[in-house]
């Protein structure tokens, strides 16, 4: 079986479209709402969903996602319940690619083999693990290599420089280009060399390059929209949800508008 993310990338390439990806924290405010949101996001035309697994010590995240993670944990969210959620969504014919964004200890705690097996079975298409750099990926790659259902997404940062060829060489799906130094949610404060940096990554990569960290509106992408293949919004999307008390219509409008604008800039 092929991979849903890679299928989606093919589809976007054929249509000549840029991708729009949003992040939500699983279990914020509870799993029922998370489920409703994922369905609504799919209906609104989101290309890929990044689903955060709450963790006690999210060192790659800024205040918004830290707080979301903390509240979700208090509300009882955990990895097993999130697997169940994805399984249910797949049974209910939700086909949008879902990527787990999680910290490595959540995987180690369950055991790498068992974790990957559960990803394959429940319908998790990709993994983003912010504290697992290239050099430490050997064990998880061995477990992922058994089939195509789940793939590992590679991250690149403004300081990656000489590491870019190594990281992009066998990367799958898309490259997650981190727009700035630091953590998530720092409001459009992109790295000073952002354009050159993206160009370097684009040159090395055979797969699309999606930019994330600090993006709020399509306008934030004015200077880079020509060169990136898609955008990822996390903290700001959580803020929008909170401000509207998790109103599905507000989320839907935001996604539709962003997806339209990023393709008409």
């Amino acid at each position: 079986m092929s991979n849903r993310i890679e299928e989606k990338i093919k589809e976007l390439n054929n249509k000549g479209e840029k991708a729009f990806i949003t992040y939500i924290t699983a279990g914020l405010p509870d799993m029922k709402v998370t489920k409703k949101l994922i369905k609504a996001k799919e209906m609104a035309g989101i290309d890929i969903i990044e689903l955060g697994i709450p963790f006690s010590d999210p060192t790659a995240d800024g205040p918004v996602i830290q707080q979301a993670s903390y509240e979700a944990l208090l509300a009882g969210a955990d990895i097993n319940k999130t697997f169940t959620l994805v399984e249910e969504l797949r049974k209910e014919n939700v086909i949008v690619p879902i990527i787990f964004m999680l910290y490595y200890n959540t995987i180690l705690s369950m055991g790498i083999e068992k974790f990957i097996e559960k990803c394959n079975k429940s319908g998790v298409d990709g993994l983003i693990i912010p504290d697992l750099p290239f050099e430490e990926q050997g064990k998880i790659n061995a477990a992922l290599a058994k089939n195509d259902e789940t793939i590992l997404i590679q991250l690149i940062s403004p300081l990656s420089e000489d590491r870019i060829p190594m990281i992009t060489e066998n990367a799958r799906g898309f490259i997650y280009l981190v727009s700035s130094m630091g953590v998530t949610g720092q409001s459009a404060n992109f790295h000073k060399e952002i354009v050159n940096y993206i160009k370097k990554v684009k040159k090395a990569s055979k797969i699309p390059v999606m930019m994330g960290f600090g993006i709020r509106t399509p306008k934030d992408l004015e200077n880079v929209s020509d060169i990136i293949d898609g955008a990822i919004v996390g903290s700001h999307f959580i803020n929008i949800l909170r401000e509207s008390d998790f109103n599905i219509n507000v989320a839907t409008e935001y996604i539709k508008d962003f997806k339209y604008q990023i393709n008409h800039m």
């Binding site: 990895i79 705690s109 369950m110 700035s180």
Partner: protein
């Protein structure tokens, strides 16, 4: 860099975001060069001697030895400038930071000792300094906050998660990943991504280098037992370093058992049967965690041992059976603190009192011709409020 060199057996590694990988590589290169560089070492040893006051004495605790019928030596790290072993490592790292052209240093702190040491060195070398400290610890350790601010450091209150050392470390890592281009993170314990555990060991190994020679001079041989308290494990790895290859020397690390290892309130990571491997703060090591891999809160009366993980080399030393790890409760530590104070006129830090407490237990298995060295990692001045409240039966903040 060969990834294998970042590991101690299966422990260690670099579990950090991609944005820090080149920074770690730069630090590793600068560090390896520095410790082979005569002029760097000369400068480092100059400050250890004339600023810190090394070498520290290996004091024969006569009354304690008589009472427990074995020779007990105390390595007096409490006599260092700033009151603990922490300064040994901070000076090494700040000299490295300076060499690398960094403008700012940051640190995490729990009890405040590492923060004070970092603020002190930053004043000495005229560098900007930010210390991340949990909101709870800022209240518990007010005098150390005042010292840091007096020294010109900015103390950043961390208000996320449990508001303690673990969260201060998280926040320091976040700040570092934003500013790594001009900021050096001085980690205070033998934890973190490689090369930090190796650096901390290197800069703390003066403890055992001196102690080994001092003991040889006094007794004409190696000690039978070497002991130190273990939170993240910096004074203990420094105390063990020169003895690891001396197989006749028994190495014992003493963890904080808080209210008891059968309760949920302790900080024992290695001295329990159910140690669980995981990744936190850039390293793979044993950690206190729940069934989903979320990190649990550690508990100890001593803020310096109150950490839910342990340095990777300690995990390796335990699993390879080169060192053993034991737990001492709050109560046992406080009794030992009183004993040392009354018998020897030394008020130890509560952290170090844990090692004294196990030393007293261990002495009962030993004879009068045998000897042990206990690392007295810090002095008790910072703990006076906690000590007074504890003995007045008022309990303590934690």
């Amino acid at each position: 860099m060969d990834n294998n060199k970042t590991y101690y057996g299966e422990f260690g590694g670099r579990f950090v975001s991609e944005s820090l990988m080149n920074t770690l590589k730069e630090i590793d290169e600068a560090f390896e060069k520095a410790i082979k560089d005569e002029s760097f070492l000369k400068e480092y040893h100059y400050y250890l001697k004339d600023y810190v006051g090394r070498e520290t004495p290996l004091y024969f605790a006569k009354r304690l030895s008589e009472k427990y019928n074995t020779k007990i030596y105390l390595k007096r790290e409490d006599l260092n400038h700033t009151g603990a072993h922490k300064i040994n490592n901070v000076l090494g790292q700040i000299l490295l930071a300076k060499k690398m052209g960094k403008k700012r240093v940051i640190a995490e702190t729990g009890a405040g000792q590492h923060g004070v040491a970092t603020a002190t060195a930053a004043a000495l070398f005229n560098m900007e300094c930010k210390v991340f400290m949990g909101k709870e610890d800022i209240i518990r350790q007010a005098p150390n906050v005042m010292r840091m601010e007096m020294l010109g450091a900015e103390v950043v209150s961390v208000e996320s998660g449990s508001n303690t050392l673990k969260d201060a470390t998280n926040e320091a890592i976040r700040y570092w990943s934003k500013t790594a281009e001009d900021t050096f993170y001085i980690i205070g314990s033998a934890v973190g991504p490689y090369p930090y555990p190796k650096m901390v060991k290197e800069f703390q190994s003066c403890i055992s280098r001196e102690a080994k020679a001092q003991h040889l001079k006094a007794e004409g041989r190696n000690p039978d037992v070497v002991m130190a308290c273990v939170g993240g494990g910096s004074n203990s790895i420094g105390m063990f370093a020169e003895f690891i290859d001396e197989k006749d020397v028994e190495l014992i690390g003493v963890e904080a058992a808080g209210k008891g290892i059968d309760t949920d309130e302790h900080a024992c990571v290695l001295s329990i049967d159910t140690s669980k491997l995981g990744t936190l703060h850039g390293m793979k090591s044993y950690l206190l965690q729940d069934e989903n891999g979320n990190i649990k809160l550690a508990h100890s009366i001593s803020a310096g041992l109150d950490y839910p993980g342990v340095g990777p080399e300690h995990s390796f030393l335990r699993d390879s059976k080169r060192a053993t790890y034991v737990g001492i409760t709050d109560k046992e530590a406080m009794e030992a603190l009183k004993e040392l104070t009354r018998l020897e006129g030394i008020i130890p830090a509560i952290e170090s009192a844990h090692a004294i407490a196990y030393g007293i237990k261990k002495a009962k298995e030993m004879n009068k011709n045998q000897s042990m060295i206990i690392c007295l990692s810090g002095r008790g001045d910072k703990d006076l409020n906690t000590i007074t409240d504890y003995f007045a039966g008022k309990g303590y903040l934690n």
